[in-house]
């Protein structure tokens, strides 16, 4: 009798274990395509890039010996240091300005647009449907010598002749990147703001908090992590970009990405280009981690 009493749970436990193991293996099987996809398209190229950055360059030929020469060269190069700082400042400014515009916009859309909320959100996200290149090009059309702005200024008599000053400057790069990044920051802000239930706003008002205090004590802490992610994504996008500086930046607006392109292209120094590319990625990663750490809020909705 005691044998059956002890035997039954043991048997049950074994079958439960089998069942769980079977479940896990099925789940693993189902996830395989996704993992393969990531491994092939994300992991592998980055590993190659990393490897290249530690190899040497001999007049355009890659020599597969390990060295830190590429990184040393980059750190010692005045040009790279200047461009790194400039790129960092430009990306930070673009992401910062974009956040300053997109977050209030998301707040207004979520809280004040009522039933037009979704339509308004889509309207702001529409640029994402247009090719990145076209979005940058649009600013050339606006700011170029034959552009809309110059056309307006000359035809109204505000300027005697079209100016070249609007295009090919650092400001233009910041402006264009800000524009590029806004939808991303908006999307991140919108998502977190959307999650805050209306009753939480009401509870705060009920407790005697004005709209202003409700914002700073409740809405901001609850939305801060999402906004920060939006800001960081914006920064990362801008930090690694080379198309925008190339199209609207001129010499003054050159960024770090331009060097990478150059090294992989005309300079034909892949290891050096890879080292700079890896530096860009590492900086982005550290930045992302730092921002999300600093902005964290411990909150879970019921």
């Amino acid at each position: 009798m005691s044998a059956t009493a002890e035997g039954a749970p043991a048997l049950k436990r074994a079958s439960v274990r089998r069942e769980v193991a079977r479940d896990t293996s099925i789940k693993g099987l189902l996830l395989t395509p996704a993992f393969a996809w990531i491994a092939l398209l994300v992991l592998a190229p980055n590993i190659f890039l990393l490897l290249y950055s530690f190899w040497e360059n001999d007049l355009g030929t890659v020599v597969k010996t390990f060295s830190l020469e590429n990184y040393r060269e980059g750190i010692n190069s005045e040009v790279v240091r200047t461009l790194f700082t400039r790129t960092f400042v430009i990306a930070f400014m673009a992401a910062g300005i974009a956040t300053a515009i997109a977050y209030p916009a998301a707040y207004i859309v979520v809280r004040k647009m009522g039933r037009f909320k979704l339509a308004a959100a889509l309207l702001i996200l529409v640029p994402l449907w247009v090719s990145f290149l076209l979005r940058v090009f649009a600013w050339r059309i606006i700011l170029g010598e034959q552009g809309i702005l110059n056309g307006f200024l000359t035809s109204t008599g505000l300027a005697d002749q079209p100016s070249e000053a609007f295009l090919y400057s650092r400001t233009t790069v910041v402006l264009t990147l800000t524009y590029i990044v806004i939808p991303y920051v908006f999307l991140a802000s919108y998502t977190v703001l959307e999650r805050i239930p209306n009753s939480v706003y009401e509870a705060s008002a009920d407790c005697g908090a004005s709209a202003w205090r409700t914002f700073w004590r409740v809405v901001w802490p609850l939305s801060r992590p999402g906004v920060a992610i939006g800001f960081a994504i914006g920064f990362v996008l801008a930090f690694g970009d080379y198309v925008t500086p190339q199209m609207v930046g001129g010499v003054e607006g050159t960024m770090l990405g331009s060097i990478v392109i150059q090294q992989f292209g005309t300079a034909n120094n892949w290891p050096y280009g890879a080292a700079i590319a890896v530096s860009i990625m590492l900086t982005s990663l550290v930045f992302l981690a730092l921002v999300s750490y600093l902005s964290r809020t411990e909150a879970r909705y019921e």
Partner: protein
């Protein structure tokens, strides 16, 4: 329909009151409680959300006394929550005036009103600890730190949440969140505490416990409670007075006892407890209802009207003898409930639900005597059933 409906009571002119000593006992009316100062008053408040659609709150007037436990009871869509939101300041009345302690607050934003709300889904601040949630209203009021801390501590002890100060809402059970929400709403000692179906999300056992907690809190703090619910048992059991709402209107404001025993309208009679509604017409000075001649205390002299007759007020079997309304009926069905049984009987063209003790068996087809006091049948005004969601069993 049945041959046994021939037993007609002696012809007695209507509107003759029975001697008080014979009448069933009545509890003192609390319908107009004049012993309290009015703290909250709604004067002809109407709220229309969408022009052209029926108002959510339709011409509602109320006066709630200081220290009162006042409930607003109604089915979903009856306008009870909107009424509460108008009091809290989340909705502006389309017309009408809300006064708090004699001051018109109709245009005062919620954060400047001396009322606090316990929300249906608690609405705790998810990023704050229990202590931070409870101290929030005191911070907003600008209290000094020491005073704040003392009040939070006392309040958390009062709702049995001491020791949970540093937990966050998601680490608490539903009942605990509920108590934190209560503490947050009460800590600043508002003039009026509004509760919007606060127990709706709790399971039955917890609900019964929280009912007691709420009642004790109300009694001990002396703060006026306005309690919105669709649960008649909660409203009857806890309130000094209650308002019954239907289709945006208040159908009756009275003590629980009065609402139950003297429902003003057919809706109230049906929504609260079980009842038999009989349509009556006065013919030649006699009240007729579907083949029966009735004695109804306080019946109008002419015309049609409806009476409500509670199943437990109908006596059945030997108990029915000697009652002014007495007749023979036929048992159609019985439902045994243990401590009692529900007997469905047919009398004249009427089908009545009667409550009887569980001891005596009644068999379908059996002929029985039934009877009731003239006061047991209460004349009620006929009102529309609730629009939209049908919560009331027909």
């Amino acid at each position: 329909m049945t041959s046994s409906s021939g037993s007609v009571p002696d012809p007695v002119p209507p509107r003759v009151e029975l001697a008080p000593s014979d009448a069933p006992p009545k509890l003192a009316s609390m319908g107009q409680d004049r012993s309290r100062e009015t703290i909250l008053e709604l004067d002809r408040v109407t709220k229309v959300y969408t022009a052209g659609e029926p108002p959510a709150v339709d011409d509602v007037s109320l006066a709630v006394g200081e220290g009162e436990f006042f409930s607003i009871l109604g089915p979903s869509g009856s306008g009870k929550t909107t009424t509460l939101r108008v009091i809290a300041g989340f909705e502006r009345p389309t017309s009408g005036v809300v006064s708090l302690a004699g001051r018109d607050v109709s245009r005062v934003p919620p954060f400047k009103r001396d009322v606090n709300t316990v929300f249906q889904q608690y609405a705790l601040f998810p990023h704050m600890t229990v202590a931070q949630n409870v101290v929030y209203p005191l911070k907003m009021a600008g209290l000094a730190r020491q005073e704040r801390d003392a009040k939070v501590k006392a309040m958390l002890e009062r709702v049995e949440m001491a020791g949970f100060e540093s937990r966050r809402p998601h680490q608490l059970s539903g009942g605990q969140r509920q108590r934190v929400a209560l503490a947050r709403a009460l800590v600043a000692q508002p003039k009026v505490l509004l509760l919007d179906e606060p127990l709706g999300a709790l399971d039955l056992k917890l609900r019964e416990h929280m009912l007691l907690v709420l009642r004790h809190l109300q009694r001990d703090t002396g703060i006026t409670f306005v309690y919105v619910t669709h649960d008649q048992a909660e409203a009857l059991g806890m309130s000094h007075r209650l308002a019954v709402m239907n289709n945006g209107r208040i159908e009756q404001v009275a003590s629980p006892d009065d609402v139950y025993r003297r429902p003003a309208t057919s809706f109230v009679a049906r929504f609260i407890g079980k009842t038999n509604l009989l349509e009556c017409v006065v013919e030649n000075g006699r009240v007729q209802a579907g083949g029966l001649t009735l004695q109804v205390a306080g019946a109008p002299p002419t015309g049609r009207f409806t009476v409500s007759l509670r199943p437990e007020d109908v006596r059945i079997g030997p108990d029915a003898s000697g009652l002014p309304n007495r007749m023979t009926a036929r048992v159609r069905e019985t439902l045994f409930l243990g401590h009692e049984q529900q007997v469905l009987v047919e009398a004249g063209e009427q089908t009545l639900t009667v409550r009887a003790s569980g001891k005596e068996p009644f068999l379908p087809g059996q002929e029985v005597e039934i009877g009731w006091w003239a006061e047991a049948a209460v004349a009620v005004a006929e009102t529309e059933p609730p629009q939209g969601l049908e919560d009331v069993p027909a």
